[in-house]
């Protein structure tokens, strides 16, 4: 295998993507709070969305938790609490498969209504389309990987997972990905690309999931002073108020 390409794919590219992901979100939050929304299309079409959207979202939340388990938690930890490899394997495949099927069926429903409901299609941006493509490929490859585990020999917890964590330790081990099966490699690359796209898509809404709602009082008061309102700007640095257009 070409050493340079491997080095790029499993070492340089992840760090570029990570940088874009972090700085991109910071930039977007600073300059485009107004554009920070999921841009719901439920008003245009509700019948398919009603089942497809919760299916996709709850599915992908489960998939996310699965990835936290699989990629984030070292094998040694699960071994230490007495989870046998067989047990882990069974859990990962069964729950992973259910969550994956939910996600992909929901996703197909959502893409279908996006493509074939004229109003929804009309509200779809180029960035949306690119994002859907990457998201779809990532989900499909991920589901394939889960399925391959039923018969496959490859234990990702001894390869992909360690590589994934090594990125965040700043002690990367790209060689671990070189040895991974192709479908795992493709899943990882498309996912990394998706993370680089993330801040520039509607996916940003993930990071403003309103979990604080459970804890706050129902009725909120704010003084005029707490925000700009129609007040004059204070002396000093001018606020940059040119909101980038979305389309």
């Amino acid at each position: 295998m070409d050493g340079i390409l491997d080095l790029f794919l499993w070492l340089i590219f992840p760090y570029i993507a990570l940088t874009i992901f972090v700085l991109g979100h910071a930039w977007r939050y600073m300059y485009d709070k107004f554009g920070w929304t999921s841009r719901s299309s439920q008003m245009y079409e509700g019948d398919i969305l009603r089942w497809a959207n919760p299916m996709f979202h709850f599915g992908i939340l489960a998939v996310f938790l699965g990835h936290v388990m699989g990629l984030g938690i070292p094998k040694a930890w699960t071994d230490a609490v007495g989870v046998s490899e067989g047990m882990y394997h069974f859990m990962a495949i069964s729950i992973g498969a259910i969550a994956g099927v939910f996600t992909i069926v929901g996703f197909i429903g959502l893409v279908y209504r996006r493509r074939f409901t004229k109003a929804v299609m009309g509200a779809t941006t180029v960035m949306d389309k690119i994002m859907y493509l990457f998201l779809g490929v990532v989900i499909l490859l991920g589901l394939m990987n889960t399925a391959s585990q039923v018969v496959g020999e490859y234990n990702y917890r001894e390869g992909v997972s360690i590589w994934f964590r090594s990125i965040f330790y700043f002690n990367p081990q790209p060689e671990l990905m070189v040895g991974a099966p192709l479908s795992f490699q493709l899943h990882a690359i498309t996912a990394i690309a998706l993370f680089a796209l993330w801040p520039f898509t509607r996916l940003v809404h993930v990071f403003t999931a309103p979990l604080g709602y459970v804890f706050r009082p129902y009725v909120l008061y704010r003084t005029r002073d707490a925000h700009e309102g129609s007040r004059a700007r204070r002396r000093g640095w001018d606020k940059v108020d040119t909101i980038p257009r979305r389309r």
Partner: protein, 546 residues
């Protein structure tokens, strides 16, 4: 006691002629933009009718507002916090665009580019959502003046409660107009429904606003608002709502809908209320008690104890003085002729209505009897149960008692003043029959019939004028971004009072650069529209009012 000030409105429905000027001017100022076609911060409904969005008052379907749980505590009708979050991916009770209407335009180009042909070319309606030919089947006032009521009238959720026997036959129909804006409630269920916390009630004047930078478009507030006055902008993905024209209110001017109201039926003023007692009042077990419960939350600005507490709470002295002169206080509390819209939603709405007597007068006049005689009117109020029950469903959760009393007061005023205007002997017994004195009737008549601009709109300006003067910069609107509801903001010359023509002339305005017709009161010529040939050095300023 925690005193708070609330900017509030009362509308006198007897004077509404259904001209939609308020809707049009409001639309021009706030929502004349792509993505906001269906958004009418102000709309005028013909009642009986389905309203806008259609059948919004049917809370069994739309789940707006609050309700009491088994322990008698307030909870959102659409469900608690966890249910709200659990249903965030597909809001279950959300009106679709079809419940408003599909926005459209016309293919005007075809009129000029069509080739010579046998038939006249037409401008076909095109959907603004799909770009395709469409059939226009509805809008915000599609059932104006009872249009189509034979077919759709039975869908009116209020009428269904009142009677299933009513016939929409021309000679039997009763009809009136109901202009609606956001209620700027004391216990707003939209604020409570917002998962992000982007909606807030302003501490100073109680105006409910959406922070466009914080709104994430989860749309739970659209469900939460029982009046369906939260609107989702399908282009920006954010929710917009009536702002009570806060940039105007802050400089002491009435809202656009009030300013341009042809019938002069709107009143604006402050109400002081005890914020500590709102929750308790909104939790009143009996729905019929909600009207009185809300009234009991209001504080008398003439009470020294209230004044002391208000000052302690940081309410400025001139605001307390304005609360004393407030026409809202007079109509709600002194004369008790204004009633809240749908108190049973338990949001403590702050745009109140004087119910219309005219359907009753019309009914009497049609029989050939004297429609202004007190006995005839009182008898008609007793007899015309369907209109009165209908009004009660709107304003008092179905309790006909308060509506009866208000209509009797209006009827008594009519008869009493007729005697004076005709030069006949005044009959004090008319006033006594509704528990008022002749002088009180005359005062109420003055407020309802001939009150001038300054009496109808008592709006103390916000207390930061000085900051503006110090830095001499234009007043800007934070919502003034592309696609935001501001869209252009307020011109600084807006700060001038158009009716009084008071204030100082706006300095340093280069002549002929900007023309603000909104600021023009119709007398003289608006500044900058025509080049000033006589004295080019004269400072340009607002045109003096009457």
């Amino acid at each position: 006691m925690r005193v708070m000030a609330q900017m509030a409105m009362v509308m006198n429905l007897d004077k509404c002629i259904g001209c939609h000027t308020c809707s049009v001017t409001c639309k021009q100022v706030w929502t004349n933009k792509s993505g906001a076609e269906h958004i009418w911060f102000n709309n005028v409904e013909t009642r009986p009718g389905q309203g806008y969005p259609r059948t919004y008052e049917d809370q069994e379907r739309w789940k707006g507002g609050w309700t009491l749980n088994k322990r008698g505590q307030l909870k959102l009708k659409a469900g608690g916090r966890l249910k709200n979050l659990a249903t965030i991916f597909a809001a279950p009770y959300l009106p679709g665009i079809k419940d408003y209407y599909e926005p459209w335009t016309y293919d005007y180009e075809n009129l000029t580019t069509a080739p010579a042909q046998q038939n006249m070319p037409v401008a076909r309606p095109k959907s603004l959502l799909t770009g395709e030919n469409t059939k226009v089947t509805g809008s915000s006032n599609w059932d104006d003046d009872l249009a189509g009521s034979v077919e759709h009238g039975h869908n009116d959720p209020i009428l269904r409660k009142v009677s299933d026997k009513i016939k929409f036959e021309y000679e039997q129909a009763f009809m009136f107009y109901l202009p609606r804006i956001c209620e700027h409630c004391l216990n707003p269920s939209c604020v409570a429904s917002c998962p992000t916390g982007a909606i807030y009630k302003r501490e100073e004047d109680g105006i409910v606003l959406v922070d466009q930078d914080r709104c994430r478009g989860w749309r739970q507030c659209v469900t939460g608002c029982p009046y369906k006055k939260m609107y989702f902008n399908h282009k920006t993905g954010k929710v917009e709502k009536c702002t009570f024209c806060y940039p105007r209110i802050e400089v002491g001017q009435p809202t656009i809908c009030s300013e341009t109201c042809v019938g002069r039926l709107r009143y604006l003023g402050l109400m002081l209320y005890d914020a500590d007692r709102v929750l308790e009042a909104a939790s009143t077990p009996d729905e019929h008690g909600l009207y009185e419960a809300q009234r009991s939350v209001f504080l008398d600005p003439n009470d020294p104890e209230v004044v002391r507490e208000a000052l302690a709470a940081g309410i400025p002295e001139d605001w307390i003085a304005a609360a004393r002169r407030s026409p809202i206080w007079a109509l709600i509390n002194t004369y008790k002729v204004a009633l809240p819209l749908h108190p049973e939603y338990r949001t403590m709405p702050m745009v109140w209505y004087i119910p219309p007597l005219s359907p009753v007068v019309d009914a009497v006049s049609e029989t050939g009897e004297d429609g202004e005689r007190q006995e005839n009117l009182f008898a008609a109020i007793d007899r015309l149960r369907i209109p009165i029950e209908y009004l009660a469903e709107l304003f008092t959760a179905g309790d006909t008692g308060p509506v009866d009393i208000v209509l009797r007061k209006l009827a008594a005023m009519r008869s009493y003043m007729r005697d004076i205007n005709m030069g006949w002997e005044t009959n004090e017994s008319i006033a006594e029959s509704v528990g008022m004195t002749g002088q009180e009737i005359k005062d109420m008549y003055r407020l309802l019939a001939i009150a001038k601009y300054e009496e109808r709109y008592v709006i103390p300006p916000a207390h930061y004028e000085d900051a503006h003067k110090l830095e001499n910069v234009a007043t800007e609107c934070s919502l003034d971004v592309d696609g935001g509801p501001g869209m252009g903001g307020m011109d600084v010359s807006f700060a001038e009072h158009p009716a009084r023509g008071g204030g100082t002339a706006v300095p340093d305005r280069p002549e002929g650069v900007r023309i603000n017709l909104l600021n023009w009161d119709g007398t003289g010529t608006p500044d900058g529209l025509f080049p000033d040939s006589t004295d080019a050095s004269a400072p340009s300023g607002s045109v003096g009012g009457p």
